[in-house]
Amino acid sequence: MNLTLKIWRQQNAKAPGGFATYQVQDVTPDMSFLEMLDLLNENLQAKGEPPVAFEHDCREGICGSCGFLINGVAHGGRRGTTVCQLSMRFFKDGDCLTLEPWRARAFPVLRDLAVDRSPFDRIIQAGGFITAPTGGAPDANAILVPKDAAETAFDAAACIGCGACVAACPNAAAMLFTAAKVTHLNALPQGQPQRDRRTLGMVAAMTEELFGSCTNHGECEAVCPKKIPIEFIGKMNRDLICATLHHRGE
């Protein structure tokens, strides 16, 4: 099949960007979306034009590197898939696709479709961990974790940190990402001692990284490749209220 791609090109964070339109011929249905872009890049380079920069690594939907909007939908609109897993089966000859990078003040564009997601790391630094210095741990089975707690923790821990939630949110909020980590650690017995500190710290960090706030649009959940549910956002809000009430300052 043949496609028309309208892609955001921007040389670096400072340079002004704009859309450029390209044709890609002979795309086969068994290619992945990124393989289709590889093909485009091979052709561009053959013509001496700079290839389109886009982030990717594992290409199996787990590292969270890839991601951009296809026709206005983060990761291309197939529920529970990243662009790297998106198969060209789902497109048809003659399609015209617009590719845009994540847009958020906290995620400056580095080049073309690649953005800087380091604020996510700083949110984790503000409490997204359980302090367990190497060596001091008790026997693994000394800590009993009810299956359902383990399941909830896992559902939340499945987040791959891709940033699609921020990109899709009308308010550019990082609520779903933050809620996922807060829920993962707050659901486990091991996570209880630092529960309040964690919640307060991560929410404060999220605010300081200049992400927006949640108005419960639910766009994030809809594009999340790991189907993290927005109920976790409610859980996090709860935990924040409790933390605020409990916390004796220091």
Partner: protein
């Protein structure tokens, strides 16, 4: 201490309430709580309004009752004033939070998308801000209208405590009635998203119940809407005169 460690420390150490208010979530929680109070008021208000269909005596008496209730412990109109103060402060907080969050959210995405497609969100959610603004305008007008009687009436037409006559007179001016109906539309949309949103914000929504909560929210909003517009409609239609 590193930047982020400091950040964490600050968030933890500083005054609790301020810490809550200073976070995006805190403001949101304030909106939810104040929103809830406003809803309670609106509900009781719509119930009160419906008395109009049981005739002038009923509703005028009700209006009087509102002022005399609590007597002798409370003087004439005192309880009403307490209620008014609570409502005012809620509206104030609600709006302040709304404005602040809206500004934050605007700044959070300086460069917009060329072609953004929303897949999940609702009309109600997208119109919260404009709808809210319209509500604000409405409330101001409404107070000047039915409570102050300073707009929408010919001189001497508005008489305190004669609610029935005031409403009939007020709504016989069709543009005003129309404005009320439109405003009620805005309220309906606002609550359609608002009630569910409030429950979700406060962590009551779960994977199991969230569908039904959304339904509940919609039905609730529609009932309020129907209750309110029934009055101007009946006046325009001449059922109430």
């Amino acid at each position: 201490m590193t930047e982020s460690a400091e950040r964490q420390h600050r968030a933890v150490a500083s005054n609790r309430v301020m810490a809550l208010w200073s976070s995006v979530i805190g403001k949101k929680v304030v909106m939810a709580v104040t929103g809830a109070v406003l809803i309670l008021f609106v509900v009781s208000h719509v119930v009160g309004n419906l008395k109009i269909f049981s005739g002038p005596e009923e509703i005028n008496a009700y209006s009087r009752f509102l002022r005399e209730v609590g007597w002798p412990e409370l003087g004439y109109g005192q309880l009403l004033w307490i209620v008014r103060i609570v409502l005012l402060s809620c509206a104030f907080l609600h709006i302040t939070a709304a404005v602040q969050l809206t500004l934050m959210n605007r700044q959070a995405r300086p460069v917009g998308y060329d072609a953004k497609k929303d897949v999940e969100t609702t009309w109600g959610a997208l119109t919260m801000r404009w709808g809210g603004l319209l509500l604000a305008v409405f409330i101001v007008f409404h107070l000047l209208h039915f409570t102050g009687g300073v707009v929408g009436f010919q001189a001497g037409q508005f008489e305190d405590l004669r609610v029935y006559q005031n409403v009939v007179a007020g709504f016989s001016v069709w543009p005003i009635a129309l404005f009320y109906i439109v405003a009620m539309g805005a309220l309906c949309l606002h609550l359609d998203h608002g009630i569910w949103s409030m429950l979700q914000t406060l962590g009551w929504a779960t994977a199991q119940n969230s569908k039904s909560l959304r339904k509940f929210s919609r039905i609730f909003a529609i009932l309020i809407f129907a209750g309110f517009i029934s009055v101007p409609i009946s006046v325009l239609a001449g059922w109430v005169r």
